[in-house]
Amino acid sequence: MYRYDHYDQAMVDSRVEEFRDQTRRRLEGMLSEDQFKPLRLQNGLYLQLHAYMLRVAIPYGTLSGAQMHALADIAGKYDRGYGHFTTRQNIQYNWIKLDEAPDLLADLARVEMHAIQTSGNCIRNISSDQYAGAIADEIIDPRPYAELLRQWSSFHPEFLALPRKFKIAVIASQTDRAAMKLHDIGIRMVRNDAGEIGAAFYVGGGMGRTPMIAPCIREFVPVDQLITYSEACLRVYNRYGRRDNKYKARIKILVHELGREKYTRQVEEEFAHLLTQGIEPPLAELKRIATFFADPPFETGLADDVDRSDPGFALWLDRNTLPHKQPGYAIAVISLKPVGGIPGDASVEQMHLMADLATRYSFDECRVTHAQNIVLPHVRKADLFAIWQQLEAAGLGAANLDTVEDIIACPGLDYCSLANARSIPVAQKISRRFSDTGKTAELGELKLKISGCINACGHHHAGHIGILGVDRKGTENYQLLLGGSEGDDTSLGKITGPGFDEDGIVDAVERATDVYLARRQEGERFLDTYRRVGIDAFKEAIYG
């Protein structure tokens, strides 16, 4: 994985000192809250429902064992013993003190980490495929490109006061595991007919109150123009994105209002101009970065056989591991979704264990997924049983990846000052319900996503089943959506009808799954059946 050189380290160290100075000026009254707020936000520090919340960037979701240990230590030293992994592959701490935040950032900098641009109206942390470098279907590892973009976007002086936040995802396979088309810019690395690598740009996707699927504005940007093209996309947005209404300020609205053709034309004009400006790093820089992402020294000649005699292990093996590109290895996913638990939360002890497992069994590397789980990307199949035993002992052995129990949920009204309803209790009740009824296995792949407000941090638009919490005259109310997907076949869920209370929504979800079980055809997932039979059959069962 990428390692800082003295330049990267100096930038992050300088940022810590800058923020230490800004924090001092705030505490001494030289900065008002209005002035300080955008500064603290660009260092990931929010004022949330109960305290300050700090969001730490995990570039493209990749962590070393030492970094995961450091995240655990921070949870113990500055927070209350846990952290929350988010849908953008980051981690959040919920109980941070302002006067301790600079020290926390200094601790992060010691392990080549930071909270730069994890909030605010700027280019956020770049996300990617959590299986990058391990999965067989990628045409190339997307992370060097993500790292190149990370450096370009860090402290980019022109783009620190954008109309609104800006999220970029980079993938490099046909299967989209990063919800790429639901980002402000989604980049898919592709190979053209001549065999050259380039980037397809999808611009103007997003969730929030106006969900949109990004259209492709260019099918092939040569790799030695990647930064220049990105800069053109951003400049057009910075100049013309709406600033009169924060709900219409995302780039998706600009692309929608201008139309794809007009936005594309403006980008192409700016791109042609910027190509004359010499802003593109040389290919040698991309090569330098790519060397950090070379394959680890895999052993060869390993057997693919695994002893399945323990039924609990066999279930976990079937549900939570994926084929690796290297024979004898597997990708193992640690579920942070124990039945009845809080999606994405991990304790200090659990983080330390995951760090140890990464170091011992996965070439010192782990990943955070946008579904709020942790990946051990390069595990020898012979080690899977030992890993599973240690996970089981630590409450991390849930065998439910991509099932109805593997729920994405935002922090909701339990933690978030923007939320209208709580998300976590709904997730807890749903996972308990399906665990109790034993239907989880029968339902197979079913992506259920819960947001506590219209901002859609819980990706409810993209859930096969989505739940949106709203405030109805001061009480929590939950709307049900069906038919969303974030994958290759990206689609947006449709609201079924009137909302429900907390217990009502759990019943409604179960009724929707019963329709699937009754009407599915051979090989169909919930989403396939929904698409074939349409929403009416589900509405009828839900509302009677």
């Binding site: 330049y7 930038m11 300088s14 002035q35 402290f155 006061a161 910075n238 100049r239 600033r243």
Partner: protein, 146 residues
């Protein structure tokens, strides 16, 4: 306290800066003020006669002026580029990178604060036309030299 922070040797322009609308009616004016909604590229035919372009930041959160500044510099404008309005000390180094070479903030800067902000970053990640060599260039210089 600093009311005009300037990084130029030439004499400041004494003429008041005109709005873009009134500028287009006056053929010999040398100073103009851009508002966030103005298109900096409308000034490109007049760069030879312009000695001062003020770019107004009515609110520090509106970043259109950063793009306007870069567009003017990229087109070869070498007159004074002045940030005016709600300009805060924490933005100084980024504004310098976009090509601003003078600052007339609504609320004057504390000189020590301005100095600290301007010397904050040892290096930079991007090429922006301000003459600083980005980190990627330094890295590959170093490799070819060593």
């Amino acid at each position: 306290m600093v009311e005009l922070l300037r990084f130029r040797e030439d004499e400041p322009v004494a003429d008041p800066a005109l709005t873009v609308d009134s500028f287009s009616d006056q053929s010999n004016a040398s100073a103009v003020r851009l508002e966030p909604g103005d298109d900096a590229r409308d000034l490109l035919p007049f760069l030879d006669q312009l000695r001062l372009v003020e770019i107004n930041f009515p609110s520090f959160g509106d970043g259109r002026g950063y793009s306007a500044a870069r567009i003017l510099r990229e087109a070869g404008f070498d007159g004074e580029l002045r940030a005016v309005g709600d300009v805060l000390v924490d933005q100084l180094s980024y504004m310098r990178r976009c090509g601003f070479d003078s600052f007339a903030p609504e609320k004057p800067f504390n000189p020590a604060g301005a100095q600290a902000a301007l010397s904050r970053w040892p290096q930079v990640y991007q090429a922006t036309g301000d003459g600083r060599r980005p980190i990627w260039a330094l890295r590959h210089d170093a490799q070819s030299n060593g």
